[in-house]
């Protein structure tokens, strides 16, 4: 099996809580109370995942993301509810996901599982996926709903591909705009909104309560993780 989960947080009660919850679910854990200790923990055995609190006493947690990224360690950031700017910054720097405090242990564990699954699949990327009645074949450029082929515009397909190739991962507005429309249009959030809306119209069971493409207010979009804890659409 792979390495432990590294818990980086300056608050002892939080560390203890996370440790108990993780160990109960079968993960080994390592703890660090500051940036220095976190970097020291990057040696063997390399952690399989980092839970990173951004408010550290010695350094800004954002500065650590690059170091973990280099070693290929996935990162889940722990942030406050209103810190959408901080969330976007962390994601743009390469964090895989975030969990908002106060968090729910179940939700956190689901996110960890989703994150680790994606990491396992990075090598042989998932090119075909099925979410409820919707089937997406990225290589064949084919999308179908309940067996019937759905026609997408080129931009719709590019956006769907960008989202669906990372199921369960939050992709920021800027990231998606750059992938689909190019660097010059990263401010045009309205392009994204309109295209997401037409994708939902074509693919969702009920476009007014979307399941496939979920919104993260002020941050970005997340494609539904078929293997995640969140139940698939019925």
């Amino acid at each position: 099996m792979t390495g432990p989960v590294l818990i980086v947080d300056d608050e002892m009660p939080i560390r203890r809580l996370l440790r108990v919850a993780l160990e109960r679910s079968g993960y080994a854990t390592v703890e660090a109370e500051c940036a220095k200790a976190a970097l020291a923990a990057l040696r063997t055995p390399l952690p399989q995942l980092v839970l990173l609190d951004l408010g550290l006493p010695d350094r800004d947690g954002l500065e650590l993301i690059g170091a973990f990224r280099e070693q290929g360690v996935p990162i889940i950031v722990l942030t406050a509810r209103d810190a959408s700017v901080e969330k976007v910054a962390a994601l743009d720097l390469g964090a895989d996901d975030y969990v908002t405090k106060p968090f729910d242990s179940e939700e956190l564990l689901a996110r960890i599982r989703s994150c680790l699954r994606r990491t396992d699949q990075t090598m042989g990327r998932l090119r075909k996926l099925t979410v409820g009645p919707v089937q997406v074949d990225l290589d064949a450029h084919a999308v179908s709903k309940a067996g019937i082929e759905v026609k997408l515009t080129p931009k719709e397909f590019t956006l769907l591909a960008a989202l669906a190739s990372h199921p369960g991962k939050v992709l920021t507005h800027t990231h998606l705009l750059r992938e689909v429309w190019g660097q010059a249009h990263t401010d045009h959030v309205e392009y994204l909104r309109v295209t997401v809306r037409s994708l939902r119209k074509k693919l969702e069971q009920d476009p007014s309560s979307p399941v496939l493409i979920q919104n993260e207010p002020g941050v970005g979009y997340r494609f539904h993780d078929p293997g995640g804890a969140v139940p698939a659409p019925t």
């Binding site: 939080i14 108990v20 106060p102 515009t153 931009k155 909104r193 476009p207 309560s209 919104n215």
Partner: protein
């Protein structure tokens, strides 16, 4: 090249000052009857048809039908009636127009002189005030009323127009030339289509000769072209596309107290306009200025104010030699063209050459000199001007000293020879001349001559001069007296001038030092009053703005009582930043002259001056000193104001820091333990009785969490610390994520959503809107039975998108639809539901931060309806072509 492309700071400043000011459009004609008023009314009618708010402030139709037909569709502001010496005069009602605040006002006859008792003596000043209030003005005027063309027009029409308009008014205006060929005008005149007052008919018959009309027309065309070009140049220097006057020309005109000097100033203005160069008017104040009579003083003041009204920069330097001062100033300001006047006085050969002009011509290099000959209107000369000035004391000393010397010499005759006695007589002459000036010296010389002759020259005891040697002695005495007297007088004048400069400089320096030390407004005001009082020698007060206009903040021994006119003038100055009262152009009925303390922060205070016996309190020779004192006072006020602002900002900054620290500590120090408690409670699994206890811990921890979040949100709202990040947002997303966040507490609830699929995107802060909706849905869940559905509807309302949240709870008590958005306002069932009482206040605060509104209403059939209304201005239209 890159440097040239930079906008000129002066032009930018002018442009900035112009912003917010109404524009001025002038319909310019060569002569009466060309149809200016007609054209103005046509344009007014067009504007009103296009939907603009146009009114007539004052238009003279002279009973012509075609003109009156044009007036008909335009609203007219009734004129103000003024009783003057039994006659009823009517004028434009300036206050009524200001009150009415139209977009555009039409005012005929720019050059008109208002009836006595009006706010401003001239109509163009009324128009300036309208423009200052942001109202656009259209007006009409004939070319002969342009100040700088006054002489030129007068020279060929032989009709002198007294009503003139300063050139600066034209410089800011859009000029539309109304042109009519002279033949047509003459035939219109013949048809009686041109209004001419009866008493002027004779004069005007000559005026309307074809030659005159041709000349006037050419003048008007040329002038209109010049203004257009000036506007283009100005535009270029504002936008930085081109530099204003490529030649870097600078015109200096010397101003004197001579009558007829106006012609010189106007000529200089025409030169400056033609070269598009700045004009500087220089007055050299020589010691002889102290001997000016009233006529000369008036003339000088008139010349100076004419130069100012033509847009010249006024400068005044004290000096003993006019030519030295002019030459030095030429170098100082790098003038390229010098304009001098030369009086064509009738007189003998010694008057033919003006020594000043000649000297300047001889000594100047690199400056073009224009000498403008003018006819000085010869005033009746006062015989006193021919008597050398002096004092009775000097005369007495002269005669006394000669008498004393004569007596002494007479007594000593026995033992000194008569030879040196004539030399001795030089003594009283030199003493008198050097101490008391030329007149005393002359008297001493004459007395000495007579006494010497009488007592010491044969024939004794007669005044007959005998022999050439004795004549030489007498002449010598007089010549010595003249030379000594002149030298002494010049030295004394120079000393007096130096003393005055030194006194003024010392006064200014002392004033600056003391102002620098003053630490509050009251102290500064008193200091300014005292210093200005002593340096200008007039009654002085300082006024500051207050709730009811202005209040006197510093005065002498007794606080002067201001009349309503005085008060109006002071308030005018405070509001407009321009001087008013006696000796100015505005509200001249006030006995006081008020001047603004203008700073970059606006007019901070007003100074009031009152001269003796209703005279201008700041005469011309004191104007420069007064200006520099007022500038210093303004600087001091500005410094104090800036200091006060800084202190206020420091207080605000400290409070902000404290609030930020408190918020940070609340969110961190309270949240961290709560996070641990909540997560730990969720992770607990228990059975039996304990299961219920664990559930209590869980739900209470959740509630505490919510309450803390609410408290933080509300604190941010109340402190104005909510800064929405407005981005294109899909309401579907907002509703979906709010429901997602609430999935736990809504377990088992039926939630119906209905979202119009064609709803446009709106500009909103997704996080704030999400919170607001979260609170509304949470509120609906709390106040309605568990089995009753909650409905969320997003639809297009009449004035923009709308989100409704409906429940079927007890509903809002009648009449408290507004109150429930207050903090800690709870429904009647609040005890059971355990809300914080902050939720709806947060909804309202967040909605307001984004420019949205929220309202509550009772539903028919029970329950409440909460509505978030998004204005149509927040809607974003997206072109589908851009996206694909």
């Amino acid at each position: 090249m890159t440097d040239d492309a930079r906008p000129s700071p002066d032009a930018l400043l002018r442009e900035a000052q112009r912003e917010g000011r109404g524009t001025l459009k002038i319909f310019l004609g060569a002569a009466p009857g060309v149809g200016k008023t007609y054209e103005m009314l046509l344009e007014g009618a067009e504007k009103i048809e296009a939907g603009a708010d146009v009114v007539i402030g004052l238009v003279e139709t002279h009973g012509r039908d075609e003109t009156e037909a044009l007036v008909a569709p335009l609203p007219v502001i009734p004129r103000r009636k003024i009783d003057y010496k039994g006659q009823t005069l009517t004028e434009m009602d300036l206050d009524a127009v200001l009150e009415r605040r139209p977009k555009i006002v039409l005012v005929d006859e720019l050059a008109h002189t208002n009836a006595p008792g009006s706010r401003h003596p001239k109509r163009w000043q009324d128009i300036e005030e309208l423009r200052a209030a942001g109202i656009d003005v259209m007006t009409t005027v004939n070319i002969q009323h342009v100040e700088s063309l006054n002489d030129v027009v007068g020279s060929f029409t032989h009709v002198r127009v007294r009503e003139t308009v300063p050139d600066k008014v034209f410089e800011e205006a859009e000029i539309e030339l109304i042109d009519l060929p002279p033949e047509d005008l003459i035939s219109r005149l013949g048809d009686g289509k041109v209004y001419v007052p009866d008493q002027a008919r004779h004069a005007l018959d000559h005026f309307f000769s074809k030659g005159n009309l041709l000349a006037l027309r050419e003048l008007a065309l040329r002038h209109a072209a010049q203004y257009v070009e000036a506007r283009i140049q100005e535009h270029k220097s504002v936008t930085g596309k081109d530099i204003g006057y490529a030649g870097g020309q600078r015109i200096l005109v010397a101003i004197s107290q001579e009558a007829g000097g106006e012609q010189v100033i106007r000529a200089a203005k025409r030169l400056a306009d033609a070269l598009k160069a700045p004009l500087i008017a220089l007055y050299v104040e020589t010691p002889s200025a102290e001997r000016f009579g009233d006529a000369e003083k008036t003339q000088l003041a008139g010349n100076l104010s004419l130069a100012a009204s033509l847009g010249a920069t006024l400068q005044s330097v004290p000096a003993t030699s006019v030519q030295d001062a002019i030459l030095a100033h030429c170098r100082d300001v790098s003038a390229t063209q010098l304009v001098l006047g030369k009086s064509r006085r009738q007189g003998g050969w010694w008057r033919r050459r003006d020594p000043i002009v000649q000297d300047i011509l001889d000594r100047t290099t690199g400056v073009a000199i224009h000498v403008i000959p003018f006819d000085e209107q010869v005033r009746g000369r006062d015989w006193r001007n021919f008597v050398p000035r002096g004092s009775w004391t000097g005369d007495a000393v002269a005669i006394g000293s000669v008498a004393a010397l004569t007596l002494a010499a007479f007594l000593a005759q026995g033992w000194i020879s008569r030879g040196p006695i004539d030399l001795l007589y030089l003594l009283p002459v030199i003493v008198s001349a050097s101490l008391y000036g030329f007149r005393a010296g002359l008297i001493a010389a004459i007395a000495a001559g007579i006494a010497y002759n009488f007592f010491f020259l044969p024939p004794f005891y007669t005044v007959i001069i005998y022999g050439p040697a004795n004549i030489i002695t007498a002449v010598l005495l007089v010549v010595v007296a003249i030379i000594t007297g002149q030298l002494a007088a010049r030295a004394r004048a120079a000393a007096a001038l130096a003393m005055r400069s030194a006194r003024e400089n010392a006064g200014l320096a002392r004033f600056a030092t003391r102002l620098g030390a003053a630490s509050n407004t009251q102290e500064t005001a008193q200091l300014i009053r005292d210093e200005l009082r002593s340096l200008l020698a007039v009654q002085t007060i300082v006024l500051h703005p207050s709730a009811d206009g202005v209040t006197i903040s510093a005065f002498g021994q007794t606080k002067p009582q201001l009349s309503p006119v005085d008060r109006a003038a002071a308030e005018w100055v405070m509001d407009h930043g321009e001087e008013a009262g006696i000796g100015t152009n505005t509200l001249t009925a006030s006995a006081w002259q008020f001047r603004p303390l203008k700073t970059s922060l606006g007019t901070l205070a007003v100074l009031g001056f009152r001269g003796p016996h209703g005279r201008d309190p700041i005469p011309t020779e004191r104007a420069a000193l007064a200006e520099s004192l007022i500038d210093q006072a303004a600087l001091a006020h500005e410094r104090l104001k800036l200091e006060a602002d800084m202190r206020d900002m420091e207080v605000v900054r400290q409070r902000d820091n404290l609030r930020a620290a408190l918020l940070a500590s609340l969110s961190h120090d309270l949240r961290t333990p709560l996070t641990a408690v909540t997560a730990a409670a969720e992770a607990l699994s228990a059975t039996g009785d304990e299961a219920e206890l664990v559930e209590t811990v869980r739900s209470e921890a959740r509630r505490l969490n919510r309450f803390l979040s609410d408290l933080l949100d509300l604190t941010r709202i109340e402190e104005g610390a909510v800064t929405p990040d407005l981005v294109p947002t899909d309401l579907t997303d907002v509703i979906a994520s709010a429901l997602g966040d609430l999935s736990k507490s809504l377990t088992g609830r039926k939630v119906l959503t209905s979202i119009d699929p064609n709803l446009p995107l709106v500009r909103a802060d997704a996080v704030l809107l999400n919170h607001a909706l979260l609170n509304l849905v949470d509120n609906a869940a709390k106040y309605s039975p568990q089995d009753a559905p909650i409905e969320i509807i997003a639809r297009m309302g009449r004035r923009g998108p709308v989100i409704d949240v409906l429940d079927s709870g007890p509903g809002i008590p009648q009449g408290s639809e507004q109150r429930i958005f207050d903090r800690f306002a709870r429904g009647e069932t609040s005890d059971r539901t355990g809300g914080s009482g902050l939720g709806l206040a947060i909804v309202k605060g967040f909605a307001a931060a984004m420019g949205f509104t929220v309202e509550a209403a009772r539903r028919q059939g029970g329950g409440s309806r909460f509505t978030i209304r998004i204005p149509s201005t927040a809607i974003i239209q997206v072109s589908l072509e851009d996206i694909a």
